[in-house]
């Protein structure tokens, strides 16, 4: 049962071959068996998950109509607010924070009759690319426990890769869904900015953050996206345009299909095995009649620099509210208000979060805002214009998701800049607001998964998913599972 996709699990329930309860029990058993080593989850309430499953089964028995994810366990990154359930962002500063409300995507999951199986580990406030920056635990890559699952949504990616959940939600500010999906050998998608409501997503970089799905295959990712996407009047930046039925046309290939390949995504620093796997994926498409077109994204080499100014500037402000006054950690000993705030923040935030708050504050401070923050916003426009030109010539842009396969835990821990550069290919999509997906496209000789990144224009999710599905139909990389 653990090898089945959500779509197959839905079918089994419909056929009466399986119940929500038995499915949930199976995934919980997997969790109990393996998570002490993988450490994907921060909080799991088994009894509650079973309760939810029983309620769904009762609904089915009563002949009630059921949602699109009825009885399917979904793991949720712990930056998404869950009413009455601790939501920590992987940070000590929110150790005891219990939101009085559900994030919009959580409401959507509940409405779809999904089982919320647990909250997954992540880099603190989604700041990181390895899930090593969690204040609570380091999540390990199910393919090699010495290696990171990527990040920041490493817990969600690892939970799906280790079959502890068939589906998971992550968030992607600079690649935090696509990069861990790539490193864990699963499908991960970042929707276009504005496609999914951010209400209840604890902000890191507000103009970049999006919630997206992790799944074993493209169909499941499309299904989960279908459930969470759509207008929410509580998020001013969430567009009010209809959500296409992503699963309906999934097997219809886009014809003719032109794939843009940018030389900037194949430069220095790209691992040769990764490049090889991506090139063979392109061959798969060519075999299906797609045209490969060389394009240029001349400003994408600057994306990391732009990102570390824009995201940190926004973060420095977004994280100002954690001051020990109204919620969150308050230090024990202090002398006066300002000291209380400084100590609470000093104790509550980890090193990477402090570094980014410092960088963002610096980028916005008087005397530097023009040279840093505003300059970055100008280059951001150039990055967006590069993509506009690219999508005028081709349907999608393809390249590697990450320059390397999963790296070792601790390998980049002391070199923040090296860590930042592991997101070099994913970041520009967030800056431009476009959609992107990572799908498995091969393995290194040592057996680590490799991801193919496909980028689509703003709100071109349907096309993106159909293109991704085409590769999946012709290959079976996505069917491989790690030996736990």
């Amino acid at each position: 049962m653990l090898d089945l996709t959500a779509t197959e699990l839905l079918q089994r329930q419909a056929n009466g071959d399986s119940s929500a309860e038995s499915i949930t029990q199976t995934f919980l058993a997997q969790f109990r068996q393996h998570d002490s080593r993988i450490r994907a989850f921060l909080h799991v309430d088994e009894a509650d998950a079973i309760e939810q499953a029983k309620a769904i089964d009762a609904k089915r028995k009563g002949g009630e109509s059921l949602g699109k994810l009825a009885g399917i366990p979904v793991a949720v990154k712990d930056v998404l607010c869950t009413k009455g359930r601790r939501t920590t962002c992987g940070s000590k500063i929110l150790q005891n924070f219990v939101p009085p409300y559900d994030a919009h995507v959580i409401t959507k999951l509940k409405e779809a009759d999904a089982i919320l199986i647990g909250k997954t580990n992540c880099d603190e406030f989604a700041m990181g690319s390895s899930t090593e920056n969690s204040a609570y635990q380091t999540t390990r890559n199910p393919w090699d426990l010495e290696r990171t699952p990527g990040g920041s949504s490493g817990g969600s990616a690892a939970s799906v890769a280790a079959s502890q959940a068939p589906l998971a939600l992550g968030t992607d500010t600079g690649g935090s869904i696509r990069q861990p999906a790539s490193l864990c050998g699963i499908v991960g998608m970042k929707p276009s900015y504005g496609r999914v409501s951010r209400f209840g997503l604890i902000a890191y970089g507000s103009s970049l953050d999006q919630v997206g799905p992790f799944a074993q295959d493209v169909r499941d990712a499309a299904l989960l996206l279908e459930v969470i996407a759509g207008h929410d009047p509580r998020d001013s930046t969430c567009v009010n345009t209809p959500v296409p039925p992503y699963t309906a046309m999934l097997d219809e290939p886009i014809k003719p299909l032109t794939i843009g390949v940018a030389k900037q995504f194949f430069g220095k620093g790209l691992d040769s095995e990764v490049e090889q796997a991506v090139r063979s994926a392109l061959k798969v498409y060519e075999g299906q009649g797609a045209k490969i077109k060389d394009i240029s994204l001349p400003h994408s080499p600057y994306a990391v620099a732009v990102y570390y100014l824009v995201a940190t500037a926004e973060a420095s402000s977004n994280l100002a509210r954690y001051d020990g006054v109204h919620f969150g950690h308050r230090t024990e000993k202090f002398a006066g208000l300002i000291d209380m705030v400084k100590k609470s923040r000093g104790e509550g935030f980890g090193a990477e979060v402090k570094r980014r708050i410092m960088l963002g504050t610096y980028a916005l401070s008087s005397g530097y805002i023009d040279a840093y923050y505003l300059k970055a916003l100008k280059v951001r426009r150039l990055i967006r214009q590069d993509f506009d030109q690219a999508f005028a010539q081709c349907d999608v842009v393809m390249g590697p998701t990450s320059p390397t396969a999963a790296f070792k835990i601790g390998e980049k821990a002391d070199d923040p800049l090296a860590m930042y550069l592991s997101d070099i290919y994913t970041i520009s999509a967030n800056l431009a607001g476009i959609c992107g997906i990572s799908i498995p496209c091969g393995f290194t000789k040592s057996g680590l998964p490799i991801g193919l990144q496909i980028l689509g224009g703003p709100f071109a999710e349907e096309k993106l998913l159909r293109v991704a599905r085409l590769h999946e139909r012709e290959t079976d990389w996505h069917k491989r599972r790690p030996a736990l």
């Binding site: 009047p233 600057y302 100002a320 000291d339 400084k342 708050i357 300059k375 100008k378 951001r380």
Partner: protein
Amino acid sequence: MSLSPDEVRKVAELARLEISDAEVDTIARQLNAIVDYINQLQQVSTDGVEPLAHALDLHDVFREDLPGESLTEDEALANAPARKGNFYSVPAVFGD
């Protein structure tokens, strides 16, 4: 451009972060490595380019002036680190 330890302290003050003297040098070194990298942006010609704060071309999003649900006092104060009656309690503002 690079940050001196004093500038690091100033930024930390602005960000209300307590940073020990021992941390200052490490943070200064790490930030300077990042700032050095970021300085490559100065090579990009952006004359006449408007800043792009938001990738979405969306405007005029409003809510109507209609009452919504508020929290009860207990719900609102449930996460408060310190509470006095139905108020949040904080160290005296004056006296710093």
